[in-house]
Amino acid sequence: MAKETVIQGAISRDGAPVTGYVRLLDAGGEFTAEVPTSSDGAFRFFAAPGTWTVRALVPGGTADATVEATLGEVAEVALAV
């Protein structure tokens, strides 16, 4: 799709993959989407270009990362909890 970007990555703890949920928040901090991770902690969103916050929710921890999504590019983000 020409009008969107892909934001993807994985959650880890001490370098090992951890499973849980990932929330996508817009530039104003408003919730946009949530996905469960795959068994290796990976996730993917389609989003409009702009600044996004990606939040990991796993048992016993959360972590946030800010990501800049650019049209036509895949934004990679690693979340360590």
Binding site: G20, T32, A33, V35, F46, A48
Partner: protein, 287 residues
Amino acid sequence: MSRNDVLVDADWVQAHLDDPKVVLVEVDEDTAAYEKNHIRNAVRIDWKRDLQDPVRRDFVNQEQFEALLSERGIANDDTVVLYGGNNNWFAAYAYWYFKLYGHGDVKLLDGGRKKWELESRELVTEVPTRAATTYTAQPQDQSIRAYRDDVVSAIGTVNLVDVRSPDEYSGKLLAPAHLPQEQSQRPGHVPTARNIPWSKAANDDGTFKSDDDLTSLYEEEGVDLSKDTIAYCRIGERSAHTWFVLHELLGQANVKNYDGSWTEYGSLVGVPVALGAEPGSPEGGKQ
């Protein structure tokens, strides 16, 4: 109706795991989640395979619903507790469905699967066996279901609540951010609809916000809670969650879920469509 009648917490579920008259049912957007693991003694309903007619775009009919519940071992006098991922998104859809076909006692596990997982509660892979029942469903309760003509005539008169994300509402995206971008012919929203994303009704852990917070959420966005309301999203599932909030938690009298939602409305010929972040005038157009 109040939240004590329609919501149970994880401790309640834990205490009723072996109660034969309480049936836990997992309903997930990711229909494979159940196979990975689930709450002990929970059965699964697959929102796509079990709840949609395989040929035409519609729900399974009354007889098909009876056959489904009979086969899953759910009786008319059972307490059904639904839960799922993503703030109970699809569990709330199934809840609406159970109400549509007149099931007596149905509840949601507040927080759903996510809260259960984040609290590291027990999950198993074993699939329970429940003896088949002879379930009798009621004819569809049309007072909670809206059709396309209801929506067109609601423009500018009845509360229309578009519960999709702001980017879907304004027309930048056609589907939620984690799904492939396909579906309706045109982007945008129904003119005069207010945009209150469904997920604003939930806390980070998936539980519902308090009644006071929920009331302010809708009123601050210009929804007159004394008027009738139609909620819609893309295919009617997120709006079932909002239907649950308005009708079951806040007790608003006349709330309908438009299950055709944007994938139907955005493909209709000749209806007004609004683009941009504002509700717009009844004629719609670009803002």
